[in-house]
């Protein structure tokens, strides 16, 4: 198999997607990667729901969940820096809640609860999503009777996500190369045209995909 090792652990095939997407596409394989998707999703769901419902006073629960997640993170061989960066996504929300509750003479436990719960749940989702291919997640959803139309839509969205993002970036670059003014109004018009074109191309591609599906016998 021709070896095309990405330079950074998080590079994807499309030249542009690497900057826009925070998803880990590197090649590490680990114990966690090899676990069954259904198991990972099931455990993750239990952890998330229980963590959200548990009162913050149940320190034992939160501590053991933290340990389990750290252990899993270690076993998964995902780069720590990457994990940390993804967790930072939460910071504005947590900060907001902390600020609001700081002015309240209520119990401080509330903001601690929110912060801890959201971080733990986020870490759980990060670990599962980066060690499980999306198509496997869809297969699990299908087995729990999620409607086929929704599954097909999810699958097609995932498949063409990067294709469209690359198209959008290419169009934007092409436009920017021919933009000599810095007027904001012109800018917005240009960007809106790019987005409009993106919709048109998506529609036309959808028709071609339909033809390709029919050509191989889809009913």
């Amino acid at each position: 198999m021709p070896c095309r090792r990405p330079a950074l652990p998080f590079q994807t095939e499309g030249p542009v997607s690497v900057h826009l997407v925070n998803h880990h596409h590197g090649q590490p394989d680990s114990l966690v990667h090899r676990l069954a998707a259904a198991l990972k999703l099931g455990v993750a769901l239990v952890i998330i729901v229980a963590t959200v419902l548990a009162p913050i006073q149940w320190r034992a629960w939160f501590i053991s969940v933290t340990m389990l997640l750290l252990l899993t993170a270690g076993l998964s061989r995902l780069p720590l820096f990457f994990l940390f960066r993804r967790l930072l996504v939460l910071s504005p929300f947590v900060l907001g809640v902390v600020l609001v509750n700081a002015f309240q003479p209520g119990d401080r436990d509330k903001w601690l609860a929110v912060a801890v719960k959201s971080v733990l749940c986020l870490l759980t989702v990060i670990l599962v999503s980066n060690t499980t291919p999306f198509s496997q997640i869809l297969r699990v959803l299908k087995s729990i009777r999620v409607p086929t139309l929704l599954i097909t839509t999810l699958a097609l969205m995932h498949r063409y996500l990067f294709v469209l993002m690359d198209e959008s970036e290419r169009m934007r670059r092409a436009r920017a190369s021919r933009t000599f003014t810095r007027g904001r109004r012109f800018h917005w018009n240009t960007l809106a045209t790019v987005v409009g074109q993106l919709f048109i191309r998506a529609s036309e591609r959808a028709e071609r995909i339909y033809d390709a599906m029919c050509a191989r016998g889809w009913k």
Binding site: T51, V114, L150, L161, M165, S168, Q197, I200, S203, A206
Partner: protein, 312 residues
């Protein structure tokens, strides 16, 4: 506006999930029944489009930029049912793949951004379109509808946060509503510009996809409307009206006051920083005035963007 895990509590999450599941189920049924098979891949592609479009930076001032959310735009282009399915798909992928929004909060996020945003946006869009015809009317309609839908979704979000006790209503409502009144302007403007761009390049696409997605029966639209109203009644109304007070006193009289209180949140002005207690009323007034102003702006914008065709 994606709520992370831990910001809404169990009861809110479950209620929202039940309402959302019903709404998405309705939408799936409508789409399956009415969308021609040719358009089925369009749902997935529209979801991919929406995601890619949301990443485009519309520069505002000094480093900040606006982004399209797109629920109303998709509803205008594809119909409300398809829009609900499309935005739900985007939210699910964002939640699992990009951790934008929590898993337990998925129900709430879907209610706010897929159902309220798309359905309310669509209804307002069509109402305005009935009044102002032609492409100019459509542009005005979509701008105004997108603004309204954004603000409405934000209000529902505030309600959910308040009902969970994470942030009190008196803080959440003014904050979310006012911020989104400004964000909504961007959303309205961008939605209108994109709609116009699509119309200019492929007017046939607009009429083709829009008519394919229109609910064939009024009943469908009514069902969505009921769901939205139910959600608003649960998440927003208890705060917006003073009936919890009234209900509490009634409940006390009949002796089951304590049973009711955990479910009904009590607005508690004495907890707050002095001065904030009037923020709620002020926001409501600002909202009403704001919608009139925004409508006027949308009219002007429509006139500016779509020059009247010179009659031959």
């Amino acid at each position: 506006m994606h709520i992370p895990d831990g910001f809404i509590d169990g009861k809110t999450a479950v209620t929202a999930a039940v309402i959302s599941a019903t709404g998405v189920g309705l939408a799936l049924r409508q789409v399956r029944r009415e969308l021609p098979p040719r358009k089925i891949p369009l749902l997935g592609l529209a979801a991919a489009f929406l995601f890619a479009a949301q990443m485009v930076n519309f520069p505002v001032a000094g480093g900040t930029s606006g982004h399209l959310v797109g629920g109303t735009l998709v509803a205008a282009l594809l119909g409300p049912g398809a829009a609900v399915v499309v935005v739900t798909t985007v939210l699910i992928v964002q939640c699992f793949l990009f951790q934008d929004g929590g898993v337990t909060a998925l129900g709430a996020n879907i209610f706010n951004m897929a159902i309220v945003n798309s359905v309310a946006g669509y209804v307002i869009y069509r109402m305005v379109c009935r009044w102002l015809t032609g492409i100019r009317g459509q542009v005005t309609a979509i701008a105004f509808a997108a603004w309204c839908a954004t603000v409405l979704a934000a209000i529902c979000c505030a309600g959910q946060l308040a009902w969970s006790g994470t942030i009190p209503w008196a803080v959440a409502f003014p904050a979310m509503a006012t911020v989104h009144m400004f964000i909504g302007v961007g959303e309205g403007l961008i939605s209108a510009l994109v709609f116009l761009a699509v119309y200019r390049a492929r007017p046939d696409l607009i009429s083709e996809t829009a008519s394919a997605g229109q609910p064939q029966r009024l009943g469908e639209l009514v069902r969505y409307g009921l769901l939205v109203t139910l959600g608003i009644a649960i998440f927003v109304a208890p705060f917006a009206c003073s009936w919890p007070d009234g209900l509490d006193s009634v409940a006390d009289k009949f002796g089951f006051g304590h049973k009711m209180s955990p479910l009904l949140p009590a607005p508690a002005p004495d907890y707050l920083v002095p001065g904030i207690h009037w923020a709620v009323g002020a926001t409501a007034v600002a909202g009403a005035a704001g919608s009139l102003i925004v409508f006027a702006l949308a009219l002007l914008m429509g006139r500016w963007l779509v020059p009247k065709p010179k009659d031959l």
